[in-house]
Subunit: 479 residues, 2 copies
């Protein structure tokens, strides 16, 4: 799968609509679209934003090649005027997005695109697939890293990823969310994520016996010798052979056995037995890594059982977010130019949760001045400001009588402008900076929000002006 | 995500092992690896092979660039001899694979790679991610297409795919399994898969009212006018406006309304009501498309409720195989050169199902001569032949007393050679040929195997010689 850009990775209706907008003379009308999501994967208390750097790449490289235009011409659906428009297409929208690593909540604008309707509409598919995928994996990885309570988490899932980018960018997103590294080599090459990896069962099987295999590995990699001990029998063969190699091969060279890996069987039991055997052999510094169908639930159980594991290799359940494999972000029109002004738009639905919040908006997070704890998020009309020196009363958007008066706070605007009239003004950060920011921001959340089961619902309220606008439009469109 | 090849999409341990094999002088030993899987997603009765064409692309383009080698050199782990080996790397293995579209079962070799150990080992990650992903989606798509009983199934999931290749190649795999088309434009461009797509809610919201929006669309696309009717209210507004446009805009032009799409609410109820309204307006030829969180289970329920739906747009639950999002294919060493001959290898495990079937093997399918029904599959040692003119007794690999005598059959070898000593001999087929082959081969399966719930377990047996070999090795390695 070789390719030079992803402009044509788009739902076909984006193209039929684009041509239609142009034909109908509404293509250049200013429009505003919001990306937001309705539910948090795994019933969690928050999600993690990721994928913005790849969204920026896409928007910077947006162009229709001669091949693309020829393909579209052959559909016999589109006007020559439209094909000429595509040939000279130049992205000219304003774009805002949450910073990667930001904890985020349902109903919040997380990406906003404002510009000519034809353009702001067209980018929908790529905005969604990019942010949905990486946010899904970053969110899952953060849960797994929290379950591991500081122990090393290595992303091991490439072989079970939903194709190539899911492996490559999934490793990136997993790192942002809190994983410490990956087995995916190209992800280290592209993003500088630490790789992990020593041997498969086939290494052990290639040699005449397990001891010869471990010995060969120790001789090749005396400084990073971690051996897989479950090819034949963990306690009768694997661990004794690992100890023998530590004593007979590594120690004479002045080297230490770095670790063993368990990949099957009862990990809790085996790790405790193996730990004892290693300790009794004077190998207290030898780590135990485990890697068999792990996720945050299994890891938490292993910790509760006092399993002796120093590092977790997490595969398919992280790279596919197996227990909840869809991040359901949507991209909706919220305002469109009418008589030279932006007029808000709403989408009504039988499903209450599918009703959108209209208008061009901003998003603020309130933090406690003393503790830096995140107190609430507030969605406002664009341009509303918040006075940090006066109390601010927030209220529940449905049960309005539920009010909270916030005092002693400071606020941060969360949406950062990344394109200004098509010009990229995104400030690139290193993946380590993004990861540090993520972990720091997660630490500002109450522990009740961090809980895996039935987490507290974090406040995401609307400003009075935005709430009034939404109420008016709801009245107008329902009958 | 621009890239020129995927050689470095590999688990890091493939590289540490490759260097180790070379250092230890075993890199050029002949080795045989099998890909196989242990469980069928969604508890189904069979899976569908897909992804071979992309595996071929990968193997043909396998090469290490100067950048790759420099990156590896900087790890300070690998010998210069190894880096030089990579610089002049030339793939020289034999490779066999099932044809794309073939129904396949747990425990069968579906890809076999035979060649220098260092090479046959190295390709593991890409063999697995390629075949695992597309087989997952083709298998899911086949279930959904069967639930739809001949009605159109369009793959609509790009925005919820697990990144870009999952969208692009997922559309390909969905088509192989039985979907009729996709919304993913680049997949039509690359693979010729029919695209579908007309309008989003935003099209409706861009105009002053719903009727104006439908009218504008009908004027732009009089030959393919399918309108989305749930932006405000399906029965009070959407369907009446669609009918009005059919009468007032399309019919005066001599055109017909092609269809309406329902995307929310109670689809069974709404489709029946809408069908009546359309029929009464003389629009019996206007199709009804539905698209809201569909999968094989919901579609089957809609059919049972006699919903009036002609076409299904299936999104996130197809493109991620949401209910069972991992295809667990593995890649295991089954034989390695010893004293100039291939010696079989086995992997023992506490988990019975994780024990491998040793040896370089072939795979045959038995068909009934009269009905062409698939009777059983047989895994044999490589080179075993089956006499089609004599009865053949198969037996259960665990409960040996369970025997079946097959008569009046013919057999097909299922593994096709696609690389011969590194030279690609894969015969490329069009996607339509692959899809036709898939649907034809699925039709050879008993309906008890096709069932969604508790399907009959299709026979996959071992030949007597292979069973004997496996038994001997099991005895040898357990104590």
């Amino acid at each position: 799968m070789i390719r030079d850009n992803l402009t044509m990775l788009t739902d076909f209706y984006e193209i039929t609509m684009a041509n239609g907008f142009l034909e109908q003379g509404v293509g250049e009308k200013e429009a505003v679209f919001d990306m937001f999501f309705r539910n948090i994967p795994d019933g969690g208390g928050f999600a993690i934003m990721a994928g913005v750097a790849q969204l920026v790449d896409y928007l910077k490289n947006l162009k229709f090649t001669d091949n693309d235009i020829e393909y579209l011409r052959n559909k016999n659906l589109f006007s020559e005027k439209f094909l000429e428009y595509l040939r000279t297409f130049k992205f000219s929208c304003d774009v805002w997005a949450l910073e990667e690593g930001t904890p985020m909540f349902p109903g919040e604008p997380i990406v906003t695109v404002k510009g000519p309707a034809i353009q702001a509409q067209f980018v929908e598919t790529m905005v969604l697939v990019t942010i949905n995928h990486q946010s899904l994996i970053a969110t899952k990885s953060n849960r797994i890293a929290r379950a591991a309570e500081g122990r090393t988490v290595a992303e091991f899932g490439s072989r079970r990823a939903q194709s190539y980018d899911a492996a490559i960018l999934g490793a990136r997103a997993a790192y942002i969310g809190g994983a410490h590294g990956t087995a995916c080599t190209i992800s280290e090459q592209l993003f500088g994520i630490q790789t992990y990896g020593t041997m498969a069962h086939s290494w052990v099987q290639m040699f005449n016996d397990e001891y010869s295999a471990f010995k060969a590995y120790a001789e090749t990699y005396p400084d990073s010798c971690l051996v897989l001990v479950d090819t034949y029998n963990v306690l009768k063969s694997g661990v004794p052979n690992a100890i023998k190699v530590a004593k007979e091969v590594l120690e004479p060279m002045g080297k230490r056995l770095k670790g063993i890996r368990l990949d099957s069987g009862d990990i809790a039991y085996l790790s405790k037995k193996a730990r004892k055997m290693l300790d009794q052999a004077g190998l207290k510094d030898c780590i135990i890594m485990a890697s068999n169908s792990l996720d945050e639930y299994i890891i938490r159980d292993l910790m509760l059982q006092n399993a002796k594991i120093d590092a977790f290799g997490v595969g398919e359940r992280l790279i596919t977010a197996k227990s909840s494999p869809v991040f359901g972000g949507v991209y909706k029109l919220v305002a469109v130019e009418e008589n030279g002004e932006l007029a808000p738009r709403i989408k009504i639905s039988e499903n209450i949760e599918k009703v959108t919040t209209p208008g061009f908006k901003s998003l603020y997070r309130f933090y406690d001045k003393d503790t830096n704890a995140a107190l609430a998020d507030l969605v406002t009309l664009h341009g509303e400001t918040i006075d940090e020196n006066a109390p601010y009363t927030i209220f529940h958007p449905v049960y309005n009588w539920k009010k909270t008066k916030l005092t002693n706070f400071y606020v941060k605007p969360l949406l950062k402008k990344i394109f200004d009239k098509g010009v990229c003004i995104y400030e690139e950060k290193s993946l380590d900076e993004i990861r540090d920011y993520c972990l720091k921001e997660v630490s500002t959340l109450w522990e009740e929000v961090l809980r895996f089961e039935n987490p507290h619902t974090y406040y995401v309220d609307l400003s009075k002006d935005l709430w009034n606008l939404k109420s008016q439009l709801l009245d107008k469109y329902t009958y």
